[in-house]
Symmetry: D3
Subunit: 334 residues, 6 copies
């Protein structure tokens, strides 16, 4: 009864090395990612037992995707296969004032065929302690929404913790579902909200600013509307440019507000998946630490992810903890 | 009035280097290809004025695809853009008894949105002398079939030469069209048939063998049913294994049969696109040579393509001619 | 009760790409291998449940080795860690008349610390159906010999099938054990002998030739001395040069002799691990096929391994079966 | 009548990846560049119709160079071929206090054979609206100077805009021409001066400082001496070290002075060609914008070039405009 | 009589490119290094005649190591060979708050077999002017200590200068020697101490702080205890994070104290070997410059090393001198 | 008095990996080569003391070239520097019937500045035992011819052995010298002729065929005209195609004729420099073996060179000897 469950699309990420564009070089690298998968692998790297549920292509690319998850000891036993191709995204990594740029090929991917009857939730959640979902899955296809909803119903019934990262990405909602209604419905099953004033404004039709005062008030109103929500964890990113960010976190747990100092990320290696690293840090922290330390752990996890290439946070618990404890000067480990 | 026109999907081809599998390395290379495109670029490399018509994605991948065609001086002025992603195929290159393996991601690609009204055929064929089509385009989508048909009608009206490579690949026909009927309809516009007994058997419901006698008889029956067809060019591949093939060609032009000797390809670099290289050699030959030399040029072009990585035949006319003239020992050029 | 168990050292293999030497390029690739591991992963790729038992370094290299095994769904739950470094081997791949060359760094590796008390054999063999061992493990260190012996005793007690590949590599025996005595002792626990006249001559102090007659007689004498041995499987390699081999197999199961045709491997990609691929094919075959088909499956598995870079046979059961069924011309799979 | 014309040498640029030296790795990358070419390609990337005139080698390297220009849709119809090799430059990229270092192999390159009779200026400038030249071309060889001069005479006669980047690089002037006289002669044909007080001091034998006051006074004196010059655009680079620069621009158009804010380039990817990117931005701006916006566009173009590997500015008009509009935090584009 | 002698282990360094981890990519690069070797090569790059004495493996890896030294014109005539493998270290390069991480495989390396009788010191020091040793060599093995001691005795007898870098790395001392005693014994032969308060505190059992006052006092006490020591050179590293350091140097020569300004290394390429680059700068400086310039040269050498990948400082004397003279803005060299 | 002396141009060789063309990939590799250099390095690899004399560029490319020679322990003490760039050649490697193709950039290289006064022959030949020259050096420039001639005069005076490889490559002779006269003059200093009927026909204006009878007769006439020539060594290449050659050797030493069997090189890695490997084998053999074994050693050296990438033969004496002894099946070396 200690398994963390994630459910969502597995994407193949393809990009040239360094800051090159596709037009510059026909040598590219691939990794796998996907917001829920990134969270699952990161939590597994922290030492947890994790199962990722998805639908991948029935070809050598799907085999490779599954093998990628296994590398990180994530259970793939509930992954189903489809004759459609795996979703792909192409990435050109920017620098300084040049933004990174992503182009998706996912609208008819293997995951888009997911249907509730393809996932045996009873079996999949048998050892489940925690369930994490994001706003990407219901956005992708009706089957994604319906399958997720079934999973959440059962998870709630079993008393599992449920974390929601209800990111709203308007470009994805093409199947006809009304984002606000659906996200609102799904937040209703959740116990922890990983998001900030943008996401709350979206759900509550409010207009809160980024100030701490507004964050606290927004969190209070959120908890009022969604009484299952017990805690809100938010991270704040200050972008100097594509290559230099600062990260801090804040939280409201219904009783107390707290925030961390900025972590200064002077030389970003890869910022994709850093939000997922924050979520993973929060989920892992909630199983072991108090709320304040959880927030700090999430913030440190988010920060260190910026130093790894690919969507995945490769840091283990000890490495994140070391940053949390103030070891940020990068002293060589022999 | 000397432009060669090709029309068809542009695919991004992604594969690991050498004989690696995707599970072995996250370093991959990409090229662009697609059967009609391969023909177009090869004919351009032989020195012809070529225009390729297609629909590619409206993102940096589509930009890169267009730039790839431009590299070879192929006109891209009639290429349209779509919000869907470019088609992709993943390739694992085999060796010896291990086959190469391909997985496609093309069923909802940018090209699948092609519609007759997106191509201004009058303008596109203004300088047209020759039109080449294959059985892949009508297989992909209804719009592909209808757009191609409009092009063929106009090309015929303008008296252009039309070469047909009516390859029937059953796995592609998913939109409801009946392959035999449609291919038959399109062959009716064509003046040169690039294919062999397999393709003829498919069209005529016959059962001819690979013997030269059967090839001649099959060609005769083909020309009877499709009286616009003047010539049939066929290549015969003998596979020792994935790494070692032999290639020869034969032809029937209504009056005479002729065949070439085998060209022995002892160390294949890449066999994808070698059939397209044959077609390109035939089309180019028909503009300049007699039928026999055309057949020989096609055969030599097909053979040398096996020595280039990627879908494209990089050989120019002089290089193919040199092989045709018997220079097959690969003497170092300084 | 259907798990295949392998036990042995995990080595990191480092080599330049293609046929380069270390002095030519500072770009190298690494894979993991080791004779028993290669067998385990290959059998897992055929679809079996496999557990590999070993001792790897307690650093990021050991982490990477474990993650390599997980990629192939091999259970790593019984792998222990040591503060010594993982064994390494450096490889320069030859061509034509130039031999490949290997240099080992394994004599004080993490595996050299293995001790019987580090492996919980009861737990490790709980689901065990088959145990595979080779002559490399007892050669490496006394602890390797003793630990292996404990495992064999238990495996025999549980009635598991036991395959022996008693390769004798004289350069490895540095810890003081007497090779012939120890190998002989361990063969006594085994039910299937994977080896040929060289290995039998070593054990019986005989001098059999490579002829089929001698192979049969040698096998008979072997079974007489080691009555637990029920079957002998041998592969025969004919080397034209470093780049071109032929492979066939033969067997004696106490009643019948049979041999396969040569498989002609005209363009070798990597010959390391091909003997292990043969052993894996035999082990897998013995679970599902009759002895003759098992021999053929082993032979085909060995042959196709020559087309994969690295120590591992990436072929699945269907791919090997296809070769066994005569599909050796490498027809492109779409 | 809207074509931008550039004329100058095409160089092959060869360098190790990252900050490596040639002594460290035998893996290198090549791109093509050359100051006028860089301007031409950049303006083409902004959407203009561009023709580049040059003389390249008559081998596969020259073919590759031409194909590189075609990739960016730059017309190569007026490029001539020579039996001499293409010019090459080798680059080692520095970091922090280590300077980048360039070694040229261009003194007997294909371009050094350029002669006035090799360029049909009438035909080449038929659609010409703008001509851009730099001080590199007349420095390289007498034929370069004479050919350029013929082009400028015709461009002036046709009333084309002419931009001069009269960079004086003393190491290049080996053919006997007197730099100041020749540059002065050529500036006399020009309508826009892209350069600063260094270049003006060189031409006027003055000693102006970098202050804005001096820049204005220098510009005034320049316009007095060369009355065809209507506008002066200058960029100012502040180098913290090899990896960190700041860029701003200023202008005097005969009536008004204006300057931009510094753009802070905290993590330089490649600084080669950033001056050319500025010139391209100015030329493009002059066709569409007022002088102030032109200056800002040039400054933003120069800044973003620092984020692309190679000599070329890959940014399109929209991407530069976005920076000009203040979007410098590099927000991820999906 | 002008040869600089270094003695110590040659290690093969293996690491993924950029900031990748071994688990992310099987493409890795190797270089050779080792603290004394790094000093030797750097001094050779400054123009000195250098001989490195070591024991390397008798295989193609050892051949490659020797060839690496020869590249830099370091004499390898006194290098002996062993049947043990060359020592290896694996490196994962961190960024920002993520530390770099090293795992060694050296405890039973070829160097660990070094014995006094394997080095002919008389012959090796024949042309010797300077001897450099570090605290790593006596830590590795008893033979390392004894061999070094013999060399120092002879060097002292011959009146050679002797620089000591008595780094104490506790993890290495496994052979039973008592670090403080042995280091103390060896410092007794030395004339220049390259180290700071940490090293002095270790030797004197003191507790000096990093302040300049303490540094001076510590140096005085050091010289009192070890009267052969004439000068102490120290460098001070301020780490903002893994990617951003500041370096300055200070010295006490028995009469005067002096320190340099900080050199700001805003974008570190590789910090391994930067301490060795400092030592090499000091040793080289002492042959040519006064003490103050020597200190400045060491500091500049240390700083520029941060911009080279690998353990080696590739800068020549002129390049270091240029930084010393204040050229730190990295102006492009053509 | 045992040094082998080579004198000639050092070229940088640049080519894409595998069989790619420059138009396909901007990733290329470089090596250094040059016919005399190739001979020198190969002889050094066989264990001899070798000095190479040349003139290389005074930049980081020249530094890298020198460091390349040092890697192989070839003395570079007599190499001079020039302000011209190092010669370069670009290579596209063919396969099967596609020839490899080379484009040179050497006509104004650093070596083209060589003048007799730049080489101190007295000092350079001080330890000289053998001098090797080829027909490339006098072809390149007058200074090359004159400098070589001075060297040959002194070498003859000192009684050194002199091997001539008087390859006549017509494309190179651009400086006005008359090839036949000059080559004839230089052969007059030589004691061993490494070449076949082609080279003899060129010198004698004869028309001998490839038959052994003609080879013997040609050799006799050669020795008659050039009485210093004592032995003629020839290798015969049979090209099946670019990827598959056969090599054998033959000799006439004034008394006896002998020839080797064909060595079958079924999978060529790189054929550049294989003639130089033959020459190196002959030169090395002449110092140690009888004429027949020398011929066999040359043939085996030539054959194994086909398995190494780059111009250089990396094989040592033992490796060549093993082939000579019939070990051509490439048995794995552990």
């Amino acid at each position: 009864m200690n398994q963390i469950i994630t459910f969502g699309e597995v994407l193949m990420r393809i990009s040239p090395s360094g800051n090159k564009k596709f037009i510059q070089s026909n040598q590219v690298e691939f990794y796998f990612g996907g917001t829920e998968l990134n969270v699952g692998i990161s939590v597994s790297n922290f030492g947890a037992d994790v199962k990722h549920i998805s639908c991948v292509s029935n070809d050598f690319i799907g085999d490779t995707a599954i093998s990628f998850l296994r590398k990180f000891d994530v259970s793939t036993s509930a992954i189903v296969r489809s004759n459609r191709p795996l979703g792909v995204y192409f990435l050109e990594v920017g620098a300084v004032m040049r933004p990174s740029s992503i182009s998706y090929n996912r609208s008819h991917s293997s995951f888009s065929e997911i249907q509730p009857e393809m996932v045996d939730w009873e079996k999949s959640l048998k050892k489940g302690k925690w369930f994490h979902w994001t706003g990407i899955t219901p956005a992708l296809c009706k089957g994604g929404y319906e399958t997720l909803k079934e999973g959440l119903i059962l998870a709630q019934k079993k008393g599992m913790g449920i974390s929601a990262d209800p990111t709203y990405r308007s470009g994805l909602w093409k199947w006809g579902g009304i984002p606000k209604e659906i996200l609102s419905e799904l937040v209703n099953y959740s116990t922890v909200f990983i998001g900030g004033v943008n996401e709350i404004n979206e759900l509550l039709d409010t207009n809160f600013s980024y100030s701490n005062e507004d964050f606290i008030e927004a969190s209070k109103q959120l908890m009022e509307k969604y009484p299952t929500i017990e805690k809100v964890f938010d991270k704040i990113r200050t972008s100097i440019n594509s290559s230099w960010h600062k990260i801090r976190a804040r939280m409201w747990n219904g009783k107390e507000f707290k925030e961390t100092q900025d972590l200064d990320i002077t030389h970003i290696v890869d910022r994709i998946g850093t939000g997922d690293a924050f979520a993973a840090g929060i989920i892992h922290g909630l199983q072991k630490f108090d709320d304040f330390k959880t927030m700090e752990f999430g913030s440190a996890a988010c920060a260190i992810k910026h130093t790894y290439l690919g969507d995945i946070n490769y840091a283990n618990e000890k490495e994140v903890m070391s940053i949390l404890e103030g070891n940020t000067t990068g002293r060589l480990q022999r």
